[in-house]
């Protein structure tokens, strides 16, 4: 069995797919990839379906050794990647051979980055998903010594494919819609929400990202602690002390703090990848516009497989050239992990 063994982890790492859908009514956070667009990029690069799970890095990265031969892909925030000390391009596919060492480190853009295996990672599936949710003990927790196994028997995929870097890594505006609690806030707070600027803080995790209003503060609704209502990713929550946060993929299923508005689903990858210190504004859109944007981002995702491009590479830099079999001309590729 081919696998990728974790030798070292340099930051928080989890396994993520599209998350647990249908269990929020039982108190289960949906979870799933923080950047669903990046998850889809890796699936497109390897030719896999939208159900597959990938390794998600939050900064940091890690070191891996391969036991077998398989094609891998990277996506999301750009990191430095070295295969046996030789740099590889990000957001592309490559084949790793037995005993080769893969190093992923130094986030260059964004926050969340992904490593994809053919067919996704074969880890324990609970409530319809392989997503790691540490707080409730769901899904595998990748640690040093853990073997990431590909789910597919077809370990060889087209290598040297790449996707253009998406544009959402440098954003100045996040689009929002009003929600059921918006009316509880004062007119001036709602006006300021879209007039004034915010700064992304460094206080964030998979549950949410704290944001700081620049030169003002949203009034906490003192004495108006709500009965717990369901939460959706993107909700902008104002806590009892005025602390403001955008709730993200792994937010609690229900919460009692009011939410002034919600970031639209198609802008969630922007929030996921926004680095601390970034200044931005909120831009109010209608439900209809939000729906149009959702459709656009869905078609961008389904069109990813048409955007794949071969990497233009210098043959002298191609250390894996030695592994190609130029003579027989036949590479069946399936289920063959010994070279």
């Amino acid at each position: 069995m081919a696998s990728l063994e974790i030798l070292e982890l340099l930051g928080p790492v989890t396994i993520q797919d599209k998350g647990r859908i249908g269990y929020q009514r039982y108190g289960v956070p949906r979870g799933g990839a923080m950047d669903h667009y990046a998850l889809a990029e890796g699936q497109a690069l390897l030719g896999d379906d939208p159900e597959t799970a990938a390794l998600e890095f939050q900064f940091g990265g890690g070191t891996f050794v391969s036991h077998g031969t398989m094609t891998l892909a990277t996506s999301g925030g750009q990191m430095e990647i070295l295969l046996d000390q030789k740099p590889l391009p990000w957001r592309s596919t490559f084949t790793i051979y037995p005993n080769q060492v893969l190093q992923i480190r130094k986030t260059r853009s964004g926050i969340y980055s992904y490593l994809h295996l053919p067919g996704g990672i074969d880890s324990s599936k609970i409530l319809g998903s392989r997503s790691t949710h540490i707080a409730s003990g769901l899904g595998d927790v990748p640690k040093v010594g853990y073997h990431l196994s590909p789910l597919s028997e077809n370990l060889f995929r087209k290598e040297g494919l790449t996707l253009p870097a998406p544009e959402y890594f440098n954003v100045e505006a996040l689009r929002i819609v009003y929600g059921p609690h918006s009316e509880l806030f004062s007119d001036s707070d709602r006006k300021n929400l879209t007039l004034k600027r915010f700064r992304m803080s460094s206080s964030r995790n998979r549950m949410g990202a704290r944001i700081n209003p620049i030169d003002w503060k949203i009034s906490a609704l003192a004495g108006k602690t709500l009965v717990s209502d369901p939460i959706v990713a993107g909700d902008i929550q104002v806590a009892a002390d005025g602390t403001t946060a955008i709730l993200l993929a792994e937010s609690q299923p229900t919460g009692g703090y009011p939410r002034i508005a919600s970031v639209i689903t198609s802008d969630l990858p922007k929030v996921a990848q926004m680095q601390p210190g970034t200044e931005f504004k909120f831009q109010l859109v209608s439900n209809r516009e939000a729906q149009i944007e959702f459709k656009k981002s869905s078609s961008r995702i389904s069109d990813l497989s048409h955007s794949l491009k071969p990497l233009v590479r210098d043959p002298f830099q191609m250390q894996d050239l030695l592994h190609y079999n130029f003579i027989s001309g036949v590479t069946k590729g399936e289920g063959n992990d010994s070279y």
């Binding site: 039982y26 409530l127 059921p180 717990s228 369901p230 729906q291």
Partner: protein, 223 residues
């Protein structure tokens, strides 16, 4: 999200549950997920399958249908054993003092209530049970640093919570049940559903350790 009231009441919560059932019965194809809560319900739709305007008119029409009283008691009934002794109920003394009752009276009162699973939330399988008598109007503790083990019975603000996983909490822990309402490896994964009715009964430490949880799921008719 549809809201049926400002706070918990049995009528408000019943309307949430009835709305949940209507949506389930009709099996609306563009509904991805429905999340009933204490006084509100979230309807998650697939924006690729339906226009938002139609969602609104569909929900308004469903809301205009008369509300049946039958929804008030449709839930299944469960009797759940709880050990209130020693390490199982570290805050029992504190709650007793606050409520002006002896520990024995407090346990008796807690076990005399028919409680409704108003909703599940916060963590997998965690149920919010309503409503306790006014003696349980205990504020949450300031710190959030206590760990409640799976099966813990917590109280605050006339509500009681029954946990199914380990959680951090600011509520008072008055007991623990050998019944864990969430199992990872077998379906159905959750013992309780919103609308179910619960009554607790006290057990000793010894009975706690001899309890067969798997049998308990069976005895409720849940294989």
């Amino acid at each position: 999200m549809v809201t049926f009231g400002d706070s918990y009441s049995i009528e408000t919560n019943s309307r949430v549950l009835e709305f949940d059932r209507k949506l389930a019965i009709d099996g609306v194809p563009w509904v991805v997920e429905v999340v009933p809560a204490i006084r509100s319900i979230l309807i998650r739709v697939d924006p690729l399958s339906i226009e938002m305007e139609k969602v609104e008119s569909f929900l308004l029409e469903l809301l205009s249908k008369p509300f049946s009283d039958k929804a008030m008691d449709h839930g299944r009934k469960f009797e759940i054993p709880v050990c209130y002794e020693g390490k199982f109920g570290p805050d029992l003394e504190y709650v007793a003092t606050k409520s002006g009752l002896t520990k024995e009276k407090l346990i008796e009162l807690h076990c005399s209530c028919n409680l409704r699973v108003a909703c599940l939330g916060f963590a997998p399988g965690l149920s919010y049970l309503a409503q306790l008598p006014k003696e349980f109007k205990i504020p949450r503790k300031v710190s959030y640093n206590t760990t409640a083990l799976p099966g813990s019975i917590l109280v605050a603000n006339r509500q009681t919570v029954f946990t199914a996983t380990e959680i951090p909490t600011g509520w008072s822990i008055i007991g623990r049940s050998p019944i864990i309402g969430f199992r990872v490896d077998q379906s159905p994964h959750f013992l309780l559903q919103p609308g179910d009715e619960i009554r607790f009964y006290p057990i000793s430490e010894e009975e706690y350790s001899n309890f067969n949880t798997a049998q308990m799921w069976d005895s409720y008719g849940i294989a």
